[in-house]
């Protein structure tokens, strides 16, 4: 399992990847963000969660610094004992939410990934 981001011709990086990046540039490489730590930009603890999602569900927008290029992701956190600016690291999780419990077709996407834990 990786947390795959795309790097584009202009040097920018996006997570998730898109067939075309900024300015219509094509992806030229992939980067595994699970090899990096990230900084919490903002976070929330959601208490009204959909079917198959843990409750509460603490989420954050985090920012990675990949050799000077920043890229953001929305991630689950392992704890709500966190504040903006904290450094967090990925911990592999087999199911971030229960496939099939919600409206999304289970086979249409993957369900494993990374929760982030304060360093």
């Amino acid at each position: 399992m990786t947390m795959e981001a795309y790097e584009y011709e202009d040097g920018s990086i996006s997570y998730p990847g898109h067939p075309r990046g900024p300015g219509g540039t094509e992806p030229v490489d992939t980067i595994d963000l699970s090899e990096y730590t990230a900084e919490v930009v903002t976070w929330t603890k959601s208490t009204a969660t959909p079917p198959g999602v843990r409750e509460p569900n603490t989420l954050a927008i985090v920012e990675f610094d990949v050799e000077g290029e920043s890229v953001r992701a929305i991630v689950q956190l392992t704890t709500d004992d966190v504040k903006t600016g904290d450094e967090v690291e990925p911990v592999y999780t087999e199911e971030l939410r229960e496939p099939g419990a919600g409206i999304r077709e289970p086979d249409s996407q993957d369900w494993d990934g990374y929760r982030f834990d304060p360093v």
């Binding site: 208490t47 009204a48 969660t49 198959g52 569900n57 999304r104 990934g113």
Partner: protein
């Protein structure tokens, strides 16, 4: 190009309704035909704004069904889905149908039936608009609001109370809207002590789950004059799209779709933010009222909360009344109906038909947001001169 007029409007009671989607749509559609004085057989295009009748109810094909129920055949029908901005997108589609000359009488009906679902199920249907990388985290639209609200409050040193004051204002306005889901004032203390939903946001920072529908009748101005001397004109309208993935936006506090659709609507109308007398903004979450005020140029970035604190947006005493209808917050948010209902409120304000909600107005604006700013429609209307 001939101007596009609005000659009729209606909305049903919003709230928990026993009716299902087809009956809700027919209710607003019939009332709008009567309000406009238009025979169903004269409707050439019929648009239905609806996000998810198939997912909520297992009922698809709603435009065809509505045309039959209204006896509006053989009108051309089309469903407009742009998630929460389906209603605004419906106004844009209806405007296009008239402005292009394709139709001389277009009925737009927006509606949604939601309350038979649990909160979790309804939240999941709405969250299904997210990218797979977002969806698997369990993110919901309220979660996006919580993430953005924390960032806004910390970055601009805004007090938590300022968000609560948006809810206080909009609930107060909703008291005078007989169609609103909640016709009840709520004080700041109650809001700030209500259960956390996506901190720092609490229950009263969020709109409810709602059933309901609303409708507008559009035609060329020359045709409008055959029906009435008093009508409203769409002076400017535009739609714009921002990133599908919310965290990819460079600045979480700037809604690019609001900025761009606002620019387009201002340019078409020849008006600017200072010309607007009343606005209906998409307050699905209190933080969105700040972000739209800033995106539409009513306030500088990071400053909207100060205007709310100063009472600038109050209905009876403010310089720019916002959400005189009670907004989504108090009126309710039946997804496909909401953007149409915003148009209904601006129409009634411009026609002088808003009763106790009436403000002094020549030009009004509606901003309808889909997703978390993913798709946005801004519409500017004025009374016919």
């Amino acid at each position: 190009m001939e101007r596009v007029a609005v000659i009729g409007a209606s909305m049903t009671q919003f709230g928990q309704r026993e009716s299902w989607i087809l009956d809700l749509l027919a209710e607003a559609g019939i009332e709008c035909l009567e309000d406009a004085g238009v025979d169903a057989e004269d409707v050439e295009h019929l648009y239905v704004s609806n996000m998810a009748s198939g997912e909520f109810e297992g009922q698809t094909g709603v435009p065809n069904a509505l045309a039959h129920d209204l006896d509006a055949m053989p009108a051309y029908t089309q469903r407009v889905d742009q998630t929460s901005s389906s209603g605004g997108a419906g106004i844009y589609a209806a405007w296009q149908s008239i402005a292009s000359g394709a139709s001389e009488m277009t009925l737009l009906v927006g509606g949604e039936k939601m309350t038979h679902r649990t909160t979790g199920e309804a939240t999941d249907v709405i969250a299904s608009l997210t990218h797979p990388a977002e969806y698997k985290t369990g993110v919901t639209l309220p979660s996006f609001a919580g993430l953005t609200a924390r960032h806004y409050l910390e970055r601009f040193d805004a007090p938590r109370e300022s968000l609560g004051k948006v809810a206080v204002k909009n609930h107060k306005n909703g008291v005078d809207n007989p169609h609103a889901q909640f016709q009840k004032e709520v004080d700041l203390e109650t809001i700030l002590e209500s259960p956390i939903v996506a901190d720092p946001l609490r229950l009263y920072d969020f709109c409810p789950i709602t059933d309901g529908s609303a409708a507008l009748m559009l035609c060329p101005e020359s045709v409008a004059k055959e029906y009435t001397d008093e009508y409203v004109v769409i002076a400017g309208i535009d739609g714009a799209t921002d990133t599908h993935v919310v965290h990819e936006r460079e600045d979480p506090t700037i809604m690019g779709g609001v900025v761009e659709s606002g620019k387009g609507a201002y340019k078409m109308s020849g008006y600017g933010p200072d010309d607007i007398d009343v606005a209906e903004l998409h307050d699905m979450f209190t933080i969105l009222e700040f972000l739209q005020m800033e995106g539409l140029g009513f306030a500088d970035q990071g400053e909207a909360w100060k205007l709310v604190e100063e009472g600038y947006t109050e209905r009876d005493t403010g310089e720019l009344p916002i959400n005189t209808s009670g907004g989504l917050k108090s009126k309710g948010h039946p997804l496909g109906a909401s953007g149409v209902a915003q148009g209904v409120e601006i129409y009634e304000q411009l026609m002088g038909e808003a009763g106790p909600r009436q403000v002094d107005v020549d030009i009004g604006l509606a901003c309808n947001v889909g997703g978390f700013g993913n798709c946005v429609i801004t519409t500017i209307m004025e009374a016919a001169q």
